[in-house]
């Protein structure tokens, strides 16, 4: 059954390729051992300089980005970058299963046999020894250990005090502002069907969903995968098929290596973004997440 589901996602991605219009194609510069970043974004111009710098310094060789109809100059900025290949689309983010279909297609086409990192522009990958070893040290080690996928749960970072107390400047490290995180209030369940863990909790569950914890957003992610064109993300980067790739945790008491995606969502730009996303209604489950944010934000935006 899961095989059928995977084929369906792949076929869907194949159909959705028509929605993408190429803006800058530098994919011929991708060498056979390049590490690739895939991303979908909309109106993230301010975040992009630091985003690109962060991953370049980590050792990422090429960025493949889908721009979902930005009007703040993101597209123009990205098109100029020497290591970015850019596609743009005006089609519905929601109907592309929140961008997954678009990226599945690009990964199918360009990601085969590469280490692929799928992140949003506000997600910053951290892994063991990332302060002293480049990303290639990790991927080489994963190769040597015959590990195909690497987990990194989403960790929501937030500033002390109201979000808008410290404005974010272009190019700035967002974690100079958002320095805080919840260290130990996460719940974990196993999804028997797909074999992945379902992690919830953190400040978003605590602040926005204290009475409806089952609706709190999922934090488990598997963003780094040695891609094969027959793989597919089933739901954002939370779940993969074939489901063996979701087996990023040890069941017999041991600990596997894992990373973290630092989530710089809660900056001064957040309130504005939440408003905008509510109007577009392009997010998961009728944007209930953003609705909850807006309600809570109206009261006291201090995590």
């Amino acid at each position: 059954m899961l095989r059928l589901a995977r084929k369906r996602w792949l076929f869907r991605a194949f159909r959705k390729r028509r929605e993408l219009r190429n803006v800058a194609d530098r994919t011929s510069a991708i060498s056979h051992d390049a590490i690739l970043v895939f991303s979908t974004l909309r109106n993230e111009r301010f975040r992009l300089p630091f985003f690109l710098r962060y991953y370049r310094e980590m050792g990422v060789n090429h960025f493949l980005i889908v721009d979902n109809d930005s009007d703040d100059g993101s597209r123009e900025y990205l098109a100029e970058q020497p290591d970015v290949s850019l596609w743009t689309t005006r089609h519905s983010y929601k109907r592309a299963r929140f961008g997954v279909d678009w990226l599945n297609w690009l990964q199918m086409k360009y990601g085969h046999n590469h280490w692929c990192l799928v992140v949003d522009p506000d997600e910053f990958f951290v892994y063991p020894f990332c302060d002293i070893r480049p990303l290639r040290a990790l991927t080489d080690w994963l190769d040597a250990s015959s590990i195909k996928s690497f987990s990194a749960m989403l960790l929501d970072m937030y500033p002390k005090g109201p979000f808008d107390a410290q404005p974010y400047h272009e190019g700035q490290d967002p974690f100079e502002i958002a320095q805080w995180f919840d260290s130990g209030n996460y719940t974990i369940q196993r999804n028997r069907k797909y074999g992945n863990l379902w992690i919830q909790g953190g400040p978003r569950a605590r602040m926005f969903f204290p009475d409806l914890p089952e609706r709190a957003p999922a934090l488990n992610k598997v963003p780094l995968v040695r891609w094969n064109r027959s793989y597919a993300y089933a739901s954002s980067t939370h779940m993969l098929l074939p489901r063996g790739l979701n087996q990023v945790y040890d069941e017999w008491g041991g600990e596997k290596a894992s990373g973290v995606l630092l989530h710089a969502k809660f900056l001064d730009t957040f309130a504005h973004k939440a408003e905008e996303e509510m109007e577009r209604r392009q997010h998961y489950a009728n944007s209930h997440e953003y609705r909850a944010y807006r309600l809570a934000m109206a009261k006291q935006p201090d995590l």
């Binding site: 080489d140 749960m153 130990g184 909790g201 089952e214 017999w252 041991g254 894992s258």
Partner: protein
Amino acid sequence: MTVGFVMLCHTALDRAAQVARHWATHGCPVVIHVDKRVKRKGYDGLVKALGDLGNVRFSGRHACEWGTWGIVAATQEASTIMLRSFPQVRHVYLSSGSCLPLRPVAELVRYLDERPRTDFIESMTTEDVGWTIGGLNLERFTMRFPYSWRKQRRLFDGCVRLQRRIGLKRRIPAGIVPHLGSQWWCLTRSTLSAILDNPDRAEIERYFRHVWAPDESYFQTLVRQVSDQVESRSLTLSKFDFQGKPHIFYDDHLQILRRSDCFVARKIWPHANRLYDSFLSDNSSGQAAAEPNPGKIDRLFARAVERRTKGRAGLYMQSRHPNENWENGRTAAPYSVFEGFSDLFENFEIWLGKATGTRVHGHLFAPDRVHFAGGDSIYNGALCDSAAMRDYNPKSVLTSLIWNTRGERQCFQFGPADNQDLKWFMAGDANAHISVISGAWAIPLFHSNRNFGDIRHEAAQLQKIEAEFLTILRASWVKARVRTWTLAEFVENPMEPLQTIVDEISPRSLRRLTEAPLLADLTGFGQFLQNLRNQGMQPVLMGDFPANGVLPMAANRRGRPYLVK
């Protein structure tokens, strides 16, 4: 006299060339074997890069698949070339393309000169080896392995199973006592030539060709026949992870590698520029005659293996989600659960906190909210006091709380009115110390000013829940440390159990308790129980309270400090 290096290479040929050049320019001949599966272009590049060196040779190429004969064949051929081409070589050192010398060549030469007849090769009998992967020890020598372990794993495993089932066994040739050990050795000319020129070599080879992983057994076995000075250890520092794959060294291992005083280490990450730069530069020199001492590295990597295989008890996270009973401890640290104490004593939490110097929580699983110590709404690790969130996954809340407060003992109140989801979990947790005063839940009911019909109804419910909990605590599989008293028992002599509990929580404070917590007023409690009985309920968990009055001792003691002589 000098040492010659045989290098087996298959990847990162530029690094191999760099190391080969280092050895060759320091007067050590090098013979390089390149895996047959390496492309022509890469091989030619390597030959060209080392073309200017007179004491570097290349040997014929074999396909070296892991665990197969090819590696031994390559070693044999390269060693033969070494012995034939370089008569000044006394020791031959087998290394790989991802090896890196940690000490100056001169120190190695001097070390070997002082031990001119010693063969350094790890060689252990099959009974003594604990590190083989896949459970193959002696069976390596008595089975056949026609399938590749890497590419045809199912066939490989099936073949092993089949041979086990039908009892098919190869005969070990006479005179051969199987030994195993690290592939990386350093042998003397006399030993190596005796192995290579053995008149029975063809026959021995025929046998070893079908042994599993002959690279770890061929030389290790034969050396016992020809050498009288075997030093059973490898001069190459090489650590293995739990899958039997070699650990890789990175730039940040520089200091620890330097302090190991080993001569050669593997495997080095090909992009570890700092390691290659510092160890291949001439000015690095350790203490002159230091013995190799990999102890520190051994400990570091043993810890890594342990964490990978056993993990940290009580930690649940994205990369550790143990199946039930595989947790190696369900929680991170001991904690105490008190049922009935806060009903029987007034301000029990405050008293216990004072007596033991810990923070004591109220009812963590109460229906209204999570009662953290001091009424906090956010506790360590940003745990939140929402009852809905807690009830969504109570196990996560408890395990997180214990994990977040490691080093500080947790005590909390529990009771039949609370969420009972964790009763099995706690009963099966060796860290849980559960103390129950059964029937104490009746005291708040007794003091409450409610309709007796409601009280009776609720009492029946609470009694049923508590009885269930007690039944679980009496089961044979329970790992928690459990103490139970009936209310009557406890009231008769409260100090002794309290002292035991306090000693258990803070064993180092050898103080005797001087102050008892304040007992709730039990005047008329016996009559209350009788009233329940008269209404048709059977209150059993409290023990024997005389219906017509109070327990004299308890009543007298009320409100007075309890002094122990």
